[in-house]
């Protein structure tokens, strides 16, 4: 037993399982939270019937989805249709591996942390586009193509936003990026004298990457049925929903690390609070921001979305990189 506890491999496996458990477990309370927030923003109570104030509602929903028939349309590409939900979900689990929750609680401390996160995060699009194509349905295909166009465009913007942060920390390592923001909230990258513009770009691109309102045109239930998952039902549909929540959680965690100072405390005299508490609080705040936004703004039109991405966010990102470069350089 002691030998097991001492071995690196055991800890790596244990931490990986923990990351997977977090990604699979968190969406349940978050769906409840989202529906509650939706309810209260619309001046109604939200789910109330299953359990105390409806806390067991997500479990009931999950059970329902898992017990439903798994329909595969005729003419669908069976292998890709079955594999697509996993292709959409797994990258976000892989992202979570690289995000440091505190100075000790991380699965892997990579030298190329940020690059890894951006690279892997771009892969979930394959699940969406393949799911859309394999369904052999025109709405699904259109949703998949829209998703691909949207995610490629906004990945560029997100990359530019992150480059600003990397330049501030002079490192791709997540730990270094957090350490560069130590010493109170004035040193966080979100402050105007640091990377406020980058934070703005990052969040807008994050909404687009996670396919959340106001940028959920790949789903676009108004015009596309349900977009790329029109033909999905039961468990596979649940996996797509899970992937959406996993995307939201990992982008929130990423924003907390890159812009909100990760596990560092906002003011000096609160240093005694464990780092992981701060990290969780910041991530929760970002998740709340996602949900708050969802029930505030309407969906963008497709061309407006592309205009915003290419003509506004990317030039702004380049400008931000240039300005950051001017301030960071050693004369």
């Amino acid at each position: 037993m002691e030998a097991l506890l001492a071995s690196d491999i055991f800890w790596v496996v244990f931490k990986s399982f923990l990351a997977v458990a977090i990604i699979f477990g968190l969406p349940l309370p978050f769906t409840w939270l989202e529906r509650k927030i939706a309810g209260h923003i619309q001046v109604r109570p939200g789910p109330m019937r299953v359990g105390f104030h409806g806390v067991l509602q997500p479990i009931a929903d999950g059970l329902k989805l898992f017990l439903k028939e798994d329909i595969i349309p005729t003419g669908a590409d069976k292998f890709l249709f079955k594999a697509a939900p996993f292709m959409a979900l797994i990258p976000y689990i892989a992202i979570f591996v690289a995000i440091p929750m505190s100075d000790e609680a991380y699965v892997s401390n990579m030298d190329i942390g940020v690059l890894y996160v951006l690279a892997i995060g771009g892969l979930s699009i394959y699940g969406i586009i393949m799911g859309g194509w394999a369904s052999n349905s025109k709405y699904a295909l259109l949703g998949g193509l829209r998703a691909a166009a949207q995610m490629i465009s906004y990945e560029v913007a997100m990359g530019f936003a992150v480059i600003g942060v990397i330049m501030m920390a002079q490192s791709l390592n997540m730990q270094d990026i957090v350490l560069a923001q130590q010493g109170g909230f004035l040193n966080w990258n979100i402050m105007p004298h640091k990377q406020l513009i980058a934070f703005f770009i990052f969040m807008v691109a994050g909404f687009a990457e996670a396919n959340r309102i106001p940028f959920d045109i790949p789903e676009g239930e108004g015009e596309l049925g349900a977009g790329f998952h029109t033909e999905y039902s039961g468990m596979r549909f649940a996996l797509f929903a899970l992937a959406e929540y996993a995307a939201m959680i990992s982008i929130s965690a990423l924003a907390a690390v890159l812009f909100l100072g990760g596990w560092t405390s906002p003011v000096g005299f609160l240093d005694f609070v464990p780092g992981i508490v701060w990290f969780v609080l910041k991530t929760l705040f970002m998740v709340y921001l996602f949900m708050w936004t969802r029930f505030t703004w309407p969906r963008y039109r497709y061309d407006q979305l592309m205009t915003l991405g290419w003509k506004f966010l990317i030039p702004l990102g380049v400008a931000n990189v240039l300005i950051t470069g001017l301030f960071v350089i050693d004369f």
Partner: protein, 173 residues
Amino acid sequence: MEYLFFTLFSSIAVISALLVITFRNPVHSVVSLIVCFFQVACLFVLLRSPFLAGAQIFVYVGAIMIFFVFAVFLMDFKSSMAKERFGKMTVYALPVAVLMFLEVLMLIVKGPFAKMGAQPADVQKMMDLGQSTKAIGMVMFTKYLLPFEIISVVLLVGFVGAVVLTVKEKKGE
């Protein structure tokens, strides 16, 4: 341990590469090529070049393969199915290619590389260097600055060319 991972990654890479050229449906080919590139990225990690592995996933898997997916989707699907799996040239091409591979194999096993080996002291240094992104940046932005700039111009020209080629001309202009 490292052998285990090497065997895993390389065998998956080779198998998926073979699948790329045997699938009739181009979409399936694209998917297996993605798998293959991913495994190559893993091999880069084993070669102590994490930055390159990240770049491989970012550029090849995240960008180039999306182009392919788009191209296949933009074309008519029925016509994108291969009419026959292999062309007429298969009979001649296969022996030539296998012969070429055997030749390269001889070169690797018997040739100068086998004798060269690796200098252990250097390797330790290189492992430290390869793991830091800084080292690559230092070389790229000092010694190879001009090629770097030229590459960026090539990229720009390539993308402008792609746009020019695909845009449909509007009538009356």
